[in-house]
């Protein structure tokens, strides 16, 4: 026994070629992480934050002004007509709800798949999900025409003794999206509790102590708390995983369950889910690439993270490209003149410009990500992510408007032109999204500190003697 004890029980280091690349650079330790991430939510806001926040807040005001004008005047202020009854409103809805898929994918599916690199980006992606769902939820309500009756969407007992049409995917949508929002909110909030406690413990003013203390719900970091926390996260991840697939499938049923050529396709659910993950991942990149530089988080959101998100983008983009090809194939193979017409009208009709721009942005441009050099160039990935955002908005526009604008009666064919209110509402929803995200960065821990400390330990973090960096967003 004595002889055995004298042997130290240490596993040998793996050979260099098997070592995992570090997820946190420069051997940053726990103190640095707490100081850096909390510092972003403390102190005075830097100039760039105000420069981003003020225009976003202005656009948010525009959004509410446009909605007020719409509600007080009527749906006619949009460019809709009898033929094109859905246009930018539903395009924006599907666009935003799609963007909302990245957060859950990163935090739930990558969590269950034990991908530790997700920890650096999960919090921001989850927050982005929530804000995107909020933006998305506006559009179905305001497109009702009588938005004050929107409570009819929910099965609430009423003096009319009527219920929503449970056979309609539009009703399933209400449940899918509200469930998704609630589960995402819980996941986001529960995951944030230890970090809120860090902010509470660092708080200097009484107001901050009160607010973060309330939000941290008495977290002390005891083993019991951690056990419950881990269990809750696992359960919520299990709950959210099917939602990643179900929510956008149900959104696609809004179209697929109709009888309109161009919409009535069985490929829609997987096609929509792939597109949602694609657009969500692109939006995460669009937001995080500038933020990692502005907040000085290059050691936490490393080039490796951007590289891996680039790979997800490439995979999802290729699936979307495949779906475009299958749409064409199905239309030809069906032999149905209406299906063939719907596809040809999409590709070569009056909206050909939208179709080919979409194809270039979504199916062709991500193929550049096969190149390691492109994946590791922040500027290139940022530009690609913008292209994908534009392309995915156009995809929804193409699906909705090109299928509607030439119906079965040529005398009612029309061409949708957006009004200033259409444009203002879209720009305003973007402003609302950015405003919420900037507020999140400013007041909440935007990186899952507690979780990346685990990744830091595996990346050879220095344990002691690493002083806190100066606080503040510019760091």
């Amino acid at each position: 026994m004595a002889a055995l004890r004298s042997q130290p029980l240490v596993a040998p280091d793996p050979p260099a070629e098997l070592a995992r690349p570090p997820l946190i650079l420069n051997r940053r330790g726990t103190a640095w992480i707490s100081g850096k991430v909390s510092g972003i939510a403390e102190g005075r806001a830097p100039r760039w934050w105000w420069a981003a926040f003020l225009p976003s807040a202005g656009l948010t005001a525009l959004c509410f002004a446009m909605i007020a004008y719409l509600v007080s005047t009527g749906i006619g202020v949009w460019g809709l007509d009898c033929t094109v009854g859905w246009a930018w409103d539903i395009t924006n809805f599907v666009f935003w709800i799609g963007i909302g898929h990245a957060g859950t994918l990163i935090s739930a599916i990558l969590f269950l798949l034990r991908q530790p690199w997700r920890t650096s980006i999960s919090r921001a992606a989850e927050a982005m999900t929530l804000f995107a769902v909020i933006c998305a939820a506006i559009f179905p309500v305001i497109h009702l025409g009588r938005p004050w009756d929107c409570w009819w969407l929910f099965p609430i007992p009423n003096a009319n003794a009527i219920w929503p049409q449970f056979r309609s995917p539009l009703t399933w949508d209400v449940f899918a999206i509200s469930t998704y929002f609630v589960v995402s909110l819980m996941f986001w909030y529960v995951g944030m509790i230890p970090d809120l406690a860090t902010l509470r413990d660092r708080a200097r003013t009484r107001a901050r102590k009160l607010v973060y203390g309330l939000l941290a719900m008495g977290w002390t970091g005891s083993i019991r708390h951690w056990r419950h926390y881990e269990k809750a996260c696992l359960l919520l991840a299990g709950l959210s995983t099917p939602l990643v697939l179900s929510v956008h499938s149900i959104v696609s049923f809004d179209f697929a369950a109709s009888l309109l050529p161009g919409w009535h396709t069985t490929i829609f659910p997987p096609y929509f889910v792939a597109g949602a993950i694609f657009s969500g991942m692109a939006m995460v990149l669009t937001l995080l690439i500038p933020i990692r530089t502005l907040c000085g988080l290059e050691d936490v959101i490393t080039v490796l993270h951007i590289d891996r998100m680039g790979k997800v983008l490439l995979a999802a983009g290729s699936m979307v490209g495949y779906a475009y090809a299958i749409e064409w194939f199905t239309a030809r193979y069906s032999g149905s003149p209406h299906e063939i017409f719907a596809w040809e009208n999409r590709a070569f009709g009056p909206y050909a410009w939208a179709y080919w721009t979409m194809l270039a942005c979504n199916a062709i441009s991500p193929q550049l990500l096969w190149l390691r050099r492109v994946r590791r160039s922040m500027a290139a990935v940022f530009l690609l992510s913008i292209a994908v955002n534009v392309g995915m908005w156009l995809e929804r526009f193409v699906i909705i408007v090109t299928s509607l604008h030439r119906d079965f009666l040529p005398s009612s064919w029309s061409y949708f032109r957006p009004t200033l209110v259409d444009i203002g509402t879209l720009a305003g929803s973007l402003g609302l999204f950015l405003t919420l995200f900037l507020l999140f960065i400013r007041f909440l821990p935007m990186i899952a500190m507690a979780e990346i400390k685990g990744a830091a330990a595996r990346s050879g973090a220095r344990a002691h003697g690493d002083p806190d960096p100066p606080g503040g967003l510019s760091g």
Binding site: P157, N158, A159, N160, A161, I162, R200, D201, R206, K209, L210, G213, M217, G218
Partner: protein, 216 residues
Amino acid sequence: MPGVFPKWTNQLPLNIAAGLAIAGAAVAAGLGYYFTPKYTRVGYQPIQPVPYSHATHVEQLGMDCRYCHAGVERSWFAGLPDASRCMNCHHQVLAGDPRLAPVRDSMQTGAPVAWIQIHRTPDYVYFHHAAHIRRGVSCLHCHGRVDQFEEVRHDQPLSMSFCLECHRRPEAYLRPLDQVYNLGWNTDPARQNEQGRLLALTGDMRPPLSCSGCHR
């Protein structure tokens, strides 16, 4: 982090949750009771220009509903009697009664008596009296025991759920056509469904349940 939250605040979340649950239940119950037609409409009994008593005319004198509401079998509107119809009797009965002054005025000037409407269907609802009366829906079902009213009041909620209750289950309400105006007619409740189903079948009655049945 001592000092910010005193110990009693530990109890607070539970209290808040319980308070919210109670408040939510109270709001739901309050809305359900006070904001539905059962409360907002039933019991409305305005003072009419002439204190007309259905009880006197129908219960005591045995007049038929259709003598005054002559359109009820032909029209969407049951119809109100004009002054000349009243004066058929009242030029002799109670000829000088001050309560009938507005009727006599109306007779002379031609301006109708300013009755206050009690049962008002919204303009987005298409309701046809004849369509219901001629299929065995009695006055009773929407207007209550109007034959016994001293003064007319809103007796039933006439909400959409009220309409749908019968549209979904007409056999519970239909009667033989000769009993439609006999408000006191009592059927054996055990037999009502069976008899009503037979009536619905023989009359080929399929009350519309689609939106456009009533909201045209």
